[in-house]
């Protein structure tokens, strides 16, 4: 049963092997394995890994229908050419499918992937800032920021306080870095 299935598959591939078969097979495998490898990386943070894995998986999810669609579209366009014998038309359609796959790999997939995965990339890039934001509650913003024993500063607004807390927190004296600890 299995041998006959493989034999049939070999015969079909031998008669007509479209470029989409290989690239779609690669995209499916990458869509499964790349997120697994990313999640297995011990050096990255859990949240970062999760978003990166989703982003990688999503790129391949975008790639699969794009390869199939652009390849098919190229075949349909070439099918409208007149004056070709049926044999030549078959060759032309096959070649058009291959060109479609190349165009998809060169332009369409990178463009679509950057649109679809951008929200995920932003989440990953902004994540550390968001975490710090969560630590700072608006009602905890002090009236006065203590710079040193004798120097204090009144923050102009909440935004400025956040800016200090997020960007300059490592430059504060350790006891000043903790929200609420020194006011």
């Amino acid at each position: 049963m299995k041998a006959s299935f493989i034999k049939n598959l070999c015969e079909k591939l031998g008669e007509s092997n479209k470029a989409t078969y290989a690239v779609v097979a690669i995209a499916v495998a990458k869509g499964i394995f790349r997120p697994i490898f990313t999640m297995a990386d011990r050096h990255e943070e859990k949240e970062t890994k999760k978003y990166a894995a989703i982003r990688e998986g999503l790129t391949e999810v975008v790639a699969i229908p794009t390869y199939l669609g652009v390849g098919k579209l190229a075949e349909v366009i070439v099918g409208k050419l007149k004056g070709l014998s049926p044999e030549k038309m078959e060759v032309a359609k096959h070649n058009a499918n291959f060109i479609g796959v190349c165009v998809a790999a060169l332009f369409v997939i990178p463009a679509l992937a950057s649109i679809v995965t951008k929200p995920f990339s932003k989440k990953v890039q902004n994540k550390p800032v968001q975490e710090q934001k969560l630590d700072i509650k608006e009602h905890e913003v002090p009236d006065v920021i203590v710079i040193s024993d004798n120097v204090t500063k009144k923050p102009d607004d909440v935004k400025q306080y956040h800016q200090v807390a997020m960007k300059g927190y490592q430059l504060f004296k350790p006891e000043l870095a903790k929200v609420g600890a020194t006011w």
Partner: protein, 215 residues
Amino acid sequence: MVGAIANFLTNPTLANIAQSTTAAVSLETSMKAVGRPSFILADKKLDKQTKNYAATKEFLYQLTCLAVYMALVIPVFKNGAFALAKKCFKDENAAFGLFRNAKEYLTYQKLAKMGKTDRITELDKHSKKYRKLSENLKNILKTEDKPEKHSIVKGAIELGNIIGCVVGLAIVSPQVSHMVVHPAMKLLGFKDPKQNSQAPEYDKSLAENNLIVDA
């Protein structure tokens, strides 16, 4: 214009490339090596250093994929699939038995696609190139109008190629690139922007407002 497009689309060389998994995947990976870094470099929202780092990393990754595929996957899986199919499909011995290896079949298949006159001219003109082709196959190619293409042999080789490119590009290449890309990036003098950004930047506006204290 339409005639030129039709000629290009029915070009036998292009047809040969499009029919071969090896050529299609190699070309597709090369396209990725050009396309993806270009899109990263064209992103206006990223700073120059991050763009250069990401684009170089992507380019090196695709280059590693291509190298792994060509050096490891093509010879192993192409010949492996041929040998395995020869053993498994014993009822197809008439087809598989004609060829010593995958390379011999692919040479035969390329010539079998040509017209009889072109084929004979090619065999005579480049006899050195085809010296490894068996005399039996040369006779078939010279005497028969439409030599048998033995699709099952081609299919077995292509199936091996597809399995090879899946294993090579989705499993082996990411591991190899992990070992190769980072040292290569260091050699090229790139530093990970993520690591650079861990140190907070000195913000002039904050300093002017006395909001930064020297640690």
